[in-house]
């Protein structure tokens, strides 16, 4: 099971600001190891964020996103105490979901 994400969600006016740090190697598939063999691509392909079961962000990532990605975004709505759920899926079909409460 992949490492948990670190999520911070804060109500700012009529919006919610979310910052999430994900733990992932994000290998591009271009790098070679010390023996000259290509290190296989391994990266997050899909991210989606829900608030009260409504999708507020859907992202498709590629190899340009770096290791241990950090994402910061805002969505309209959300109140203190609400839950924000974030899920990522990578090209190995590994997945991780974490939840945070809006502060």
């Amino acid at each position: 099971m992949a490492d948990p994400m670190k999520i911070r969600a804060n109500a700012v006016g009529d919006s919610t600001e979310v910052k999430v740090l994900m733990s992932h190697e994000m290998e591009t598939g271009q790098r070679k190891d010390a023996q000259g063999k290509v290190i296989p691509a391994w990266f997050i392909q899909n991210v989606h964020v829900t608030h009260n079961d409504k999708v507020v962000l859907a992202a498709q990532w590629g190899t340009a996103v770096s290791k241990n990605p950090f994402m910061s975004f805002k969505f309209k709505g959300g109140a203190k105490g609400d839950k924000v759920k974030i899920t990522w899926v990578d090209n190995h079909n590994d997945t991780r979901t974490d939840e945070a409460t809006i502060a």
Partner: protein, 273 residues
């Protein structure tokens, strides 16, 4: 003074000031841009992922003796983490030596948790998610609990004082194929290697700025790196043989640099390129 002459004089004066300003501005703009990049990186420091793992590790019973770090005394009492890093290295009577954070963690692993030294030091510097270092995770957690605390290495304690003096000598020890010492790169103000600014560690301000920002998430490494790593990697680049993890020289140099940082607020874990 007639208007035209005044205009000419004003023009010359402006050109002189402008010329000087442009020259400095060009030199500063690279440094400014790098500073802006650093600021942008502060948010979402991946070091937090190591801190979370380290906190878990600190609290979980482990090793052949199934003991957590709750019994590990970093100098402020068994299991006390808050402010502990800011007073390291220090002398530990139970071990009979001066220890930095990593040597003390290693001591707790072997003496309390029952690991052999070989097992505990199998992977001291991590390399990807498949090869992780317990020390790096623990260091991230422990040092995060000294954020904002003023460095207070006990330099008056005789053993620490001795290590400080030895570390100072080592700082200036020239050797290897390239005659490099730490001081070769870190002994003068305002120098840089390629475009990487170098702190002058022989001055208190330099030591304070440098020491209080390790450990750090090194973006180029994709890893959280500690001061033991920093020393090890410096010596590699100095063309020296390999610095042994937790060796006397590593502790002496740490005592010297941490001691010179006394009074400065600890800021780690930080993020660096």
């Amino acid at each position: 003074m007639p208007r035209t002459i005044r205009r000419i004089v004003a023009g010359i004066a402006a050109a002189a000031v402008f010329g000087g300003v442009v020259a400095t501005a060009l030199a500063d703009s690279t440094a400014d841009e790098i500073a802006k990049y650093r600021d942008a990186l502060q948010d979402g420091n991946p070091a937090e992922l190591w801190e979370a793992r380290g906190e878990d590790m600190w609290k979980t019973p482990r090793g052949p003796k199934h003991v957590s770090f709750a019994s590990c005394d970093l100098g402020l009492g068994a299991g006390v983490v808050k402010g502990a890093y800011a007073q390291l290295p220090r002398y530990f009577a139970d071990a009979g030596r001066v220890m930095d954070l990593e040597t003390r963690l290693l001591w707790c692993m072997t003496e309390q948790q029952g690991y052999t030294r070989a097992d505990a030091t199998k992977n001291v510097f991590g390399n990807g998610s498949a090869k992780r270092s317990d020390f790096e995770a623990l260091a991230a957690y422990v040092t995060s609990q000294s954020q904002g605390v003023k460095m207070n290495v006990p330099l008056d304690e005789p053993h620490v004082h001795e290590m400080y003096a030895l570390g100072e000598k080592m700082f200036f020890y020239r050797g290897g194929t390239h005659d490099f010492a730490c001081a070769t790169c870190h002994g003068e103000d305002g120098k840089r290697i390629r475009l990487q600014d170098l702190p002058n560690l022989t001055k208190v301000e330099g030591a304070q700025k440098a020491y209080t920002t390790w450990p750090a998430y090194r973006v180029s490494q994709g890893e959280l790196r500690t001061f033991q790593w920093r020393l090890n990697d410096c010596f590699r680049q100095q063309r020296f043989p390999e610095l042994v993890f937790g060796s006397d020289a590593s502790i002496a140099l740490t005592a010297y640099l941490a001691g010179r940082a006394n009074g400065a607020e600890f800021q780690g874990p930080a993020i660096k390129r």
